[in-house]
């Protein structure tokens, strides 16, 4: 589990952000004393720091610069100023990314994920195993024994999304949101078309009822 250190002086934001990030599968630590944030960052050695620029005692810019002298820990700067110049200043201080308040939580999550993946060089999983078949992410195909089935970008994303929540129902809204997060801007009708095609493809390959429809609730991958 990745550890994120939240440096934020606004108590409510700190608590809610911790809660939100722990729901999303991160271990959170949020110091409430700001007299030695730099030491705290260095000793607790988190995988990532979310740093607010507007802080008591030392301001965020100073902290960012000092931490950079001793550590390469990825830092995402959070601020309410949102011009390109502010962004540039933050980057010059050694921050890895920059996000403006009030942030869109989905975007925040995506930025955190991307940065963690980039810094810790996790080799993305190539193949997802679904018992009767494999999803090959690199080649965008389904492998059923020796048979290989080509998938479109949308179909691949739908399959991965269903795989990630395997065994539970995934609503159409969740599917659409997940597609949008991967920059595939589909609407409800397109999703229906994609689902139908995907189902037909699977059936033609002999995989019947891999994806079941729960009427009014969503889809389920077995």
């Amino acid at each position: 589990m990745k550890k994120i250190l939240i440096v934020e002086d606004h108590k409510k934001i700190r608590d809610e952000l911790s809660l939100f990030l722990s729901h999303s599968g991160y271990l959170c630590e949020a110091p409430e004393d700001f007299s030695d944030v730099i030491g705290k960052i260095l000793t607790s050695a988190p995988h990532l720091v979310l740093l607010d620029l507007n802080l008591p005692v030392y301001d965020g810019c100073h902290i960012c610069r000092e931490v950079r002298k001793k550590s390469e820990v990825p830092i995402i700067v959070v601020t309410s100023r949102n011009t390109e110049i502010d962004e540039l200043t933050a980057m010059n201080l050694g921050a890895d990314d920059f996000i403006t308040k009030p942030y869109n939580t989905q975007i925040l999550l995506a930025r955190i994920e991307t940065l963690l993946r980039r810094v810790y060089r996790e080799t993305p999983v190539e193949k997802l195993n679904c018992d009767s078949f494999l999803i090959n992410l690199g080649k965008s195909t389904l492998e059923i024994g020796a048979e290989v089935l080509e998938l479109t970008k949308n179909e691949l994303r739908i399959m991965t999304c269903l795989y990630e929540k395997r065994g539970s129902i995934v609503s159409r809204d969740d599917l659409i949101r997940s597609l949008w997060d991967s920059e595939l801007f589909v609407d409800d009708n397109t999703l229906t078309v994609n689902m139908t095609r995907l189902r037909r493809k699977l059936e033609e390959a002999g995989l019947n009822e891999v994806i079941t429809t729960k009427r009014g609730r969503g889809y389920l991958l077995r």
């Binding site: 309410s80 390109e84 110049i85 308040k101 989905q106 949101r177 949008w180 997060d181 920059e183 801007f185």
Partner: protein, 339 residues
Amino acid sequence: MNIREYVKDKWVYLLCHGGTMLFTVASLYVLFPQGGKQFAFLLGFLYLFAALIPLYAEYLKKKRYYQTLEKTLEQLDQKNLLTEVIPRPDFFDGKFMYDALKISNKFCLEEIKHHKGMQSDYREYIEMWMHEVKTPIASSKLIVQNNPGPATSSISEELDSIENYLEQALYYARSNTVENDYLIRELPLEQVVVAALKRDSALLIRSGISIATEGLALSVFSDSKWLEFILHQLIINSVKYAAEKSPRILITGRHAENACILSFSDNGIGIPEKELPKVFDKGFTGTNGRLRGKSTGMGLYICQKLCTKLGLGISVFSGPEGGTTMELVFPKSSMTAVL
């Protein structure tokens, strides 16, 4: 100032001296006829000469002074600084006017300074406030996120619209300042469009609008934040005035002569032809805005102001059968080629 005007101004003086001269000549001629005609006229002319010389000298002096004044006034940018630039005259009436003008100017300058100070105080406060209020919005959004439910998701929509109004206000303030807090650099058009779409994903998914993009593999020179804001306003408009059946947005990029054009079309209710020239006016809401409510008439106005500052063209098209197309024109100049 010319001689005729001056003479007109001094007519009492001239009349008196002319009259006195005539009277002198006449009385000399009558009372001392032995002195002869010539003597009387000579005395008369000498008198007139003595009377006119100082008048002419005064004319020359004033003419020089007022000419300088006129010229300075013409060249001066801030006309109220006139008394700071010209010298104090050395003739009585001029001195009087100069001193009065100086007091009046000083008063003016102080008044201007006072109002400028007040305005910038107010602006600083409002701008600070706008940044401060982002914190409670951010925490509210997180609370909503952590407590999913129908009530909070409705609050979330309202928070989004507060955020949008706030952003409009911020960019409005920015579009008025002389300071350049924008940064022009080369941007892949696709990246900006994708960022804008992702940012409004909740709104777009909720309204069920289908999105298509085409030919966005272009690069333009602009400020990504400002451009994203402009696109955000266009998206909001498209959603607000969307068609009821299968709403669509098509975003395309294309090359034109000396420019790249990003066009943003929807199949919404469109804009009546006679209102098209007015859509960028401040506070213009139009028939659709009034019918659907919620229009402040500020979004497109701010967009146009920002476009002017960024050196972009913005134009709107709409057909009688509905649908609106907004076009952003990114000029390709010799300068951008150097960059």
